[in-house]
């Protein structure tokens, strides 16, 4: 479990994280959601040690994370930031093999090669494993980066807005892969998302942030409440449901349009 205790972070006078206390439970997909500037990516950065908090502590498996050695930490927790637009001349397989760096230090063993193969298979990348990543579509490229984190073989997988630039089909495909990471490989996934409907449909737990604070946390259906979303996003929401899961409509127009949609889905 990841325990976050009294985390504070400021950039100059701007408070980005304000006394954050939250636990990330194992074996589930946890979605961090909230409006722009809520502090989601910063919190992910603090957990992964990419950003230093001003005060507070993060415990990973009951150990203070700053006391864990860098290499040991990279074997426990992997993060994928929004950096996959960097132009590098690598094939998919070469990129995925970087995931083994914490274990191999650049000298791949037979076990490393097996893990790379597993990650490539898991993400359905076998047909394109020798393709240059610069020649891939956005979805394939994103899958290749996720495969790298899978090859890293960490217990915790953190992803910062991995659905950016992906269309609906690829977004859903990506979320199903992340669910499989939990179900089939026993990972714990923490994901920063902007699309609250995707978060509601595919995550097991949601943490809703606003102005650097945790506003509410819980199961998706407990978070997808009109009053909650209206307050956090400062917007008028309409909540509907499909197969027992709630989703929201945030089209801003005439009130009649909302009422009409509510009627259709009721």
């Amino acid at each position: 479990m990841i325990e976050i205790k009294n985390i504070n972070k400021k950039y100059g006078e701007l408070v980005v994280l304000d006394d954050i206390n939250v636990n990330i439970k194992e074996g589930m997909v946890t979605a961090l959601i909230g409006p722009n500037g809520a502090g989601k990516s910063t919190l992910l950065g603090v957990i992964s040690r990419l950003i230093e908090a001003d005060s507070g502590a993060v415990y990973v498996d009951e150990e203070p994370h700053h006391k864990i050695k860098l290499n040991a930490y990279s074997k426990m927790l992997g993060i994928l930031k929004q950096t996959n637009q960097i132009q590098v001349n690598l094939t998919v397989r070469e990129l995925v093999s970087f995931g083994r760096w914490p274990h191999s230090k650049g000298f791949l063993t037979k076990e490393d090669e097996e893990k790379i193969d597993e990650a490539i298979q898991f993400l359905n990348l076998k047909p394109i494993e020798h393709k240059n990543i610069n020649h891939l579509s956005g979805g394939q490229r994103q899958r290749a980066y996720i495969a790298m984190v899978v090859a890293q073989d960490t217990k915790y997988v953190l992803l910062d807005e991995p659905l950016n630039n992906l269309d609906m089909k690829y977004s859903v495909e990506m979320m199903l892969i992340l669910q499989d990471l939990v179900k089939k490989l026993g990972k714990t996934v923490v994901i920063v998302l902007h699309d609250i409907n995707i978060a509601s449909m595919f995550s097991d737990y949601m943490i809703l942030m606003k102005d650097g604070r945790i506003y509410i946390e819980g199961k998706p259906n407990d978070i997808m409440v009109k009053e909650v979303l209206d307050t956090v996003y400062d917007h008028d929401f309409c909540i509907a449901g499909v197969n027992g899961k709630k989703y929201c409509i945030y089209y801003r127009g005439e009130n009649e349009a909302y009422e009409e949609l509510s009627l259709i889905n009721s």
Binding site: L50, K75, L80, T83, I86, V88, N89, F98, P102, Q152
Partner: protein, 324 residues
């Protein structure tokens, strides 16, 4: 390495051996008689230059390659921080302050240590203040380096204007070291030992730099101590460029040309194969260029030609980059 790339490496090595052979022997053509001593002296001088070209070629290639990884920018070389400007300013100040006959100028060792040391000190000062204050912001380091470079060049120009013509001539000759007029004793006793050790340390770090091409956050997530490796390599670069500049002058565009040509041929981001290509290309450019200049008795130094080609290549890259 693919077959095509292997073929290119073999061609480069063959060309290099050919030009080294030509450079070492063609000066003997037309000489009717020569004593053993003269022959040995001639060969020693040429083999020293070849050695310098090999070490300097590898240095320029490796430093440019690593610098581009650290800055995540393909059109930069370490010279943007202003090593050559520091060198020229230091020589100008020495002549102005101590005169032509000062031991600082006449003693080659003292002069070399002073100019190389000053360049290292200036870059360390830049690194320690800018990187610490800017929280390891490489972009800020480049900007301040660029400003410092312009400032030092302007200061040198100002000093040139106020000095008398004789002093100006001395300064000009002091600030134009080249592969042909370098001090071979300094090459063997100080420059090569330092450069070989630092080159070895840099090559050891290449595996980390491979991961660092993925960007700072990803490299850190994979367990690479990004800041430590960056700072360490910036120091290595400062030492190598300072020693090389004090020895043979500024070759600011050599690394830029060869690293980018290597990237185009290899289509890979891994550092080791890039280093092999870059080094071979750099050394070949230096040796072949030096030989051709002597063969056709062109009245200019190789550095000027390389910088001219490099400048045009840089403009080409900028236009190409702009279009894409």
């Amino acid at each position: 390495m693919q077959n095509k790339q292997r073929r290119i490496v073999i061609i480069l090595i063959s060309l290099l051996i050919l030009f080294i052979g030509l450079y070492m022997t063609t000066w003997l053509i037309g000489i009717d008689s020569i004593t053993v001593n003269q022959l040995l002296r001639g060969l020693y001088r040429r083999s020293s230059r070849i050695t310098a070209m090999i070490v300097v070629g590898i240095t320029m290639g490796l430093t440019a390659l690593v610098f581009q990884t650290l800055t995540q920018n393909r059109i930069l070389t370490p010279s943007v921080i202003g090593f050559d400007s520091t060198f020229i300013l230091s020589q100008t100040l020495v002549v102005l302050m101590f005169g032509f006959s000062s031991p600082i100028l006449s003693n080659a060792y003292l002069n070399f240590i002073l100019s190389a040391g000053l360049m290292v000190l200036v870059s360390f000062f830049l690194y320690s203040t800018i990187l610490r204050k800017g929280k390891n912001n490489i972009g800020l380091l480049l900007l301040v380096g660029l400003v410092m470079r312009t400032l030092m060049s302007s200061l040198t120009q100002f000093l040139n204007r106020i000095m008398d013509p004789d002093t100006f001539l001395t300064v000009t000759s002091r600030t134009m070291p080249s592969l042909t007029n370098m001090n071979t004793t300094i090459l063997w006793t100080i420059a090569i030992p330092i450069m070989v050790v630092v080159l070895y340390l840099m090559v050891k770090d290449l595996k980390y730099l491979d991961v660092m091409i993925l960007g700072e956050d990803q490299a850190k997530s994979l367990g690479v101590n990004y800041v430590k490796i960056t700072n360490r390599n910036l120091i290595y670069i400062a030492i190598l460029i300072s020693v090389s500049t004090a020895l043979v002058g500024s070759l600011m565009f050599l690394g830029l040309i060869t690293v980018n040509i290597s990237r185009e041929i290899l289509k890979k981001s891994y550092h080791k194969p890039l280093l092999i290509f870059t080094s071979l290309l750099s050394v070949l450019l230096l040796v072949a260029g030096q030989y051709l200049i002597q063969l056709f008795q062109i009245n200019t130094s190789l550095v000027v030609i390389i910088n001219l080609i490099g400048g045009i290549y840089l403009i080409y890259m900028l236009i190409k980059g702009d279009k894409t």
